[in-house]
Structure formats: C-alpha cells, structure tokens
C-alpha cells in the first residue's frame, strides 16, 4: 500500500476541489532567475493535498509547466531530455495522433496557443467571484514585485448556477463529473465503480502510479519519469483542453432526430452519453431517469455492461461506455486498467438554459483537464482509440458521438430491441458538437520539486 505524503503533493492532483469558480492564468517567463524567484514566492501559497479539517479554503492555487516553460527556467539539459517525448513535443505537435485536425486543428485554436509562448499554468479555484478576484489580485502583485512572469491570457470558468446554487451540469444539459478513479493511498470519499473491477465483481483502487510519478503502476512498474527522481516523485502530468461546445448545433440535431426516434427526445439524449441528462446511468435505469440512483453514491457509478452485451440498454458506442468501458471489452475489465484518466474542469462562458436561445458563436464550452502518469499511454490512447476510432468498442470507424471530430460524416448506432420505445436507430451525418480551441501538456511538480526548481537545485546526476 502506497503511503502518500499529502503535504508534498499539489492538491489539484489528489482531489477535485468542488469549488464553483476558477481562473486559469497562462504565464510566460522572460528571465530564468526572476522566474525562479517568482516560483519561490508562490511556493507557500500553493494548495497541497493536506486534508481540509477546518473546512474548505476561500480559494486555492496550483501551478504546472509546459516543457518550454521548464526550458525557460533553465533546468539542466539532461533533465529536460529525460521527460517523456509527448510532453517534450507538446499537444499541438501531437495533433495528428490525437485526431486534432480540421475544425480541431491548431490553426483554429485561440490566439494564445499560436506562438508557443505558454510556459506555465496557474490554476485558481474559489468559493465566490470575490474570493477569486482577491486571490488573483494578490497573485498579480506577486508577478509585479518579482517581474517573474507576464500574463499571456486568462481563462475564467464557473459551474453552471441554478437558483443561485452551483450545479454539475455542462452546457448540453448533462450532469457531469461522475466516476473519477480511486487510487491506492489517496483518501477521498470513495464509491463503488470508480476504481478497477476485480474478478469477484467488487471495485478496488487503481495503483497510485497511474496518477502520480514515483509509485508502482498497474503493471508493477514505475511510470516513465524525468530525472532526478526527486523532481518527478509526487508529480503528475496534466492535459489542458479548451473544448468549445456548439450548443445550437447540438440542440438542433437532437430536436431533428428525436422526431424520428420513437423513444423520445430525452431518451435519445441519454443514448448519446449512456446517462440520462440528470445523470442516471442507462444501464441501471434504461426507461426513465431515477433521481434516487443519481443521489446514491453506492449506485450512481456502480454498474457493469456484462448483462447488456448487445447494447440494448446502453449503446455500445455511448460516450461513457467508450471512455470507461468497465467490463465491456471482456477479461473482467483488465484491459482498461492502464487507460484510466482523472478529470478536472469546469464549464466556461454564459450558461445556456434549455428555454433560452443559444448560438454556436457564443464563447461557451468546457475546460477539460486530465491528470495521469503517462500522457501517451493514458490520455492519448483514450483520445485516439476510444474517442476518434471505434474498433475496441466494435464500432468500426465510428467516433465518439459527442466528442468525435466528425466533420459532418459521423455515424452513431443505437442498438435497440423490439419494444416500441427502444428501437434500433442510426444517427448519421454527425457534425462536430465539440471543437478544440487550444491547450497543451503540463507537468505538475510536487512541493519539493517546486522548491528545487525555485532554488536551482535540480541535478540529474
């Protein structure tokens, strides 16, 4: 059993803060010495994984670096070269592998990403807009005092509010954020269905090394890590993707198709994802939403697909069945234990309530962040094989209905049965419901590693 030093790990890695307001600030370092000084000043402010016994703080701060950022900090060459290749190359360079082409190609991304100038990501989460502003003002003063970095751009994000309270809904109307994996040694309120499937049907935490560097992973190996060990240990890799949502296109497609689908509009929406829009898993309640299931942590992620091999309850190509296949590929789910990712993120842009008009041109979407020990083995595999290709799910060339880069040619098959309200149905001519607007690969170091970087102590020998 891994014993984790929670005060040495950035809190953002260990838990979703569940704070409704966020700002992601992108920094550029002009001078290595001044940038190191800035990191030194930031160090006492960084939120660690220490438990919040006295309640949640008003705000949190975390930091991560691109490979170019680590170069700008003048880490030793031998260290820089020891990082995994995909991290050295960055997400833009990996576009062909990720299927980030056409509407999702780097040329279509926000200006921020065009010039390879992003060196660091500062993630600030807060309980209120006031707390967010206060924390950001303090950070800006620190930047000014140290002249350690310039701000290239900021991205605000916030939970969609309903009656003044934050919800976990995204802009298409689905309840999001179920089912991040459990890992050995990480204490959080765990629930069945969130780790790995065991032969007896129970769920167990994944090996710590699937999330954090320096610990054994599911193969009993240490993840590929930079040198020295102390720089890597307790760190993780983060993928940042700004996903624009074409809400008008989604609504029109759903409305148009639901006139042909005898199960009705909400069931069709549920078939896309594998959950009703309130979050009820189709696998547990194929005919109607069931709030009692959504609210029950012992049930809302606790299911498998073994009893539904034909996909008559949850389509084989539904989003959650593709991206977390549980037992769907056989072998008691063993094939997927090294392909799991931890997700963070919040919606951005003005909320689009169902009864209000929405346009694709509105700047609206979701900031999608992934934490994993190996970007190539975990995130890139999921993106390439399970989002942009369908062979593992036996869906041929069909891509993920919601996230796929379809370009108007996509297809999604809803398996059905002979009942009137659950017919087989083919969704064709899929447009891009989601478009990539930018992002990159980041390294989230431990508190010790941040100190080493700040003090110029990184020594790969």
């Amino acid at each position: 059993m891994s014993k984790l030093n929670e005060t040495d790990i950035q809190g953002f890695v260990l838990r979703g803060y569940n704070l409704p307001f966020a700002r992601y600030v992108f920094l550029h370092f002009e001078d290595a010495a001044r940038a190191r000084k800035l990191i030194g000043s930031l160090l006492p402010l960084i939120t660690t994984g220490q438990r919040w016994d006295n309640g949640k703080p008003q705000s949190t701060v975390n930091i991560a670096f691109t490979h170019r950022g680590l170069c700008a900090l003048e880490l030793p060459e031998a260290t820089l070269l020891s990082f995994p290749v995909e991290f050295q190359q960055g997400m833009k360079h990996r576009a062909g592998i990720l299927g980030d082409t056409g509407h999702n190609a780097p040329e279509q991304w926000d200006e921020l990403w065009h010039h390879n100038r992003v060196h660091a990501w500062l993630g600030v989460n807060a309980q209120s807009p006031e707390a967010l502003e206060a924390r950001c003002a303090a950070l800006r003063s620190l930047l000014t005092e140290t002249s350690g970095a310039t701000i290239l751009a900021s991205q605000d994000a916030a939970a969609v509010m309903e009656n003044g309270k934050p919800t976990s809904r995204e802009h298409f109307g689905y309840t999001d954020g179920f089912g991040n994996p459990d890992y050995l040694g990480i204490s959080r309120s765990t629930q069945p269905g969130q780790g790995k499937l065991m032969p007896d049907g129970t769920w167990a935490p994944l090996a710590t090394g699937e999330l954090l560097l320096g610990y054994a992973d599911e193969a009993g190996e240490l993840p590929v890590s930079p040198l020295p060990y102390l720089l890597a240990n307790n760190g993780s890799f983060m993928v940042y993707r700004k996903l624009h949502q074409n809400v008008a296109t989604f609504r029109k497609y759903l409305n148009d198709l639901s006139t042909q689908y005898s199960g009705g509009k909400e069931k069709l929406a549920a078939k896309f994802i594998g959950r009703w829009r309130d979050g009820t898993p189709l696998e547990l309640s194929p005919d109607h939403p069931a709030p009692s299931i959504v609210e029950d942590p012992n049930r809302n992620t606790n299911f498998t697909y073994g009893a539904d091999p034909e996909g008559t309850s949850c389509p084989i190509g539904a989003h959650i069945r593709r991206t977390h296949p549980r037992d769907a590929f056989g072998f008691n789910g063993k094939l997927i234990d090294r392909r799991r990712i931890t997700r963070r993120g919040l919606p951005y842009g003005p909320p689009a309530l169902e009864d209000q008009p929405a346009s694709d041109a509105d700047d609206r979407g979701i900031i999608f962040m992934v934490l994993n020990a190996s970007i190539s083995r975990q995130f890139e595999f999921v993106q390439q094989q399970w989002i942009e290709y369908g062979n593992d799910a036996r869906q041929g060339n069909d891509k993920d209905m919601l996230l796929g880069n379809h370009g108007g040619h996509g297809k999604f098959v809803i398996q059905g049965d002979t009942t009137e309200t659950n017919p087989p149905f083919v969704c064709a001519h899929l447009p891009n419901f989601v478009e990539l607007r930018g992002g990159d690969y980041f390294f989230l170091p431990s508190i010790t590693a941040l100190g080493m970087i700040a003090m110029g102590l990184v020594d790969p020998r």
């Binding site: 592998i97 060339n397 880069n405």
Partner: protein, 210 residues
C-alpha cells in the same frame, strides 16, 4: 491442423537473402527499399492476385540478444519472411501470385538465394514451397469465409448501413418495396476488388504508411 484455420491457409515462407559483400547497397537493403515503396492498396501484388486475405513481408536481419539470462545466438543468414492468409489450395495460390505480379515478385525475390525467376511458374511454386515453414499458430480475422465472400460481406454491411440511414422511419409498405429494389441492386453489383474498400483513416498511429 498446422497451416490451416477453418478454411484459411496460413503461409509462412522464409527465403534466405543473398549475402554478397561486393554488392552495394546490400541485397537486404535493396529488398527493404522495394518493400518501403510497395503499394499496400489496390496495386499490391496481393490485391492483383486472387485469394489473399492479409499478407506481410518482413526482412529478418538477425535475432536480438535481449540480455541475461538469455543466450546470445545468431542466424546464419538474413531472411525475407512472407506471411499470408489465403484461400484454399497452396499450389493454386502461388501460381496465381506469379501469374498476376511476375515483375514485382522478381524485383523482390531476385535478391534471395536460389530464386528461379518467374519465367517458369512451376519452378517458382517449387522454390516457394522449399522455403516454407509450418505455420503452427495462425490468426485469421475471418476464418470461415473465402476472400470473395468477405469482400461481398463488407460491401453489404456498408450498403445496408447507408440504406438504414436513408430509410429510417419510412412507412412499412414503401420500405419493403425500396428494400426489395435495394437488395436486387446490391445482388447485381460486382464483388469489390481487394483493397478497394479500404477507408481513409485520418489518425496517425505511426509507421511509414500512415
């Protein structure tokens, strides 16, 4: 049964490559160059000739020492490996191959020891069989259907999928009549040529051909 899985024959041929230090570039590099530009589409020898489900050429340089406790060993020669999943009788298949693509096969196998050339089909068949190894473990994607049956099935799958997309929700009597027309038309279509139905894949997953 060795070499056979269902109705599919698994062919393994190891041809020693000529080792001649006076030749530059060496014979194995010359084969590698040809293979690097050999079509994997409709112009491939295996697409022109009948009966190939899947085929792969590999140049085997040597065995690699992977470290203690394994023992360091070396091959006596470099080899050209041909692995092929094919329909039916081996002699018929090999004769079909040399008849369809004599120039391409000569260009490759002229660099192998004892290759008789394509002018005498019988000698070609004998040569290939003399280099054959028994295939003891064989994976075939489809092991109970012939190549034409498989190509027809892929064509049908795609056509039916398109038909469903355009006819979803059509009123039953009209659907039945249009399906009858569709089925008759599909039946009359020629069997697609090998490799002609391969779909363009945008994703790069590594390797020269992608």
């Amino acid at each position: 049964m060795p070499n056979q899985n269902g109705s599919i024959y698994g062919l393994s041929i190891l041809s020693p490559i000529i080792d001649d230090p006076s030749v530059n570039p060496s014979h194995d590099l010359q084969i590698r160059e040809i293979l690097a530009t050999l079509s994997t589409g409709a112009e491939s020898p295996f697409a022109i000739a009948p009966g190939t489900h899947m085929a792969r050429f590999v140049v085997l340089d040597d065995v690699i020492f992977v470290g203690y406790p394994s023992v360091e060993e070396h091959l006596q020669s470099k080899y050209l490996i041909l692995e092929s999943n094919l329909d039916g009788d081996l002699d018929t298949y090999l004769r079909g191959l040399i008849a369809a693509a004599p120039q391409q096969l000569d260009a490759i196998y002229n660099h192998c020891v004892g290759y008789p050339g394509s002018s005498n089909p019988r000698a070609f068949v004998d040569y290939m069989k003399s280099c054959q190894l028994e295939t003891t473990f064989l994976f075939a994607a489809v092991n109970d259907k012939s190549l034409p049956e498989t190509l027809r099935a892929l064509q049908t799958q795609r056509a039916v999928s398109d038909f469903i997309v355009t006819h979803q929700g059509t009123e039953p009597a009209r659907l039945q009549s249009e399906f009858a027309q569709f089925a008759a038309k599909l039946k009359s279509l020629p069997i697609p040529k090998p490799a002609s139905t391969t779909m363009h894949r945008e994703l790069k997953i590594g390797g020269r051909n992608e």
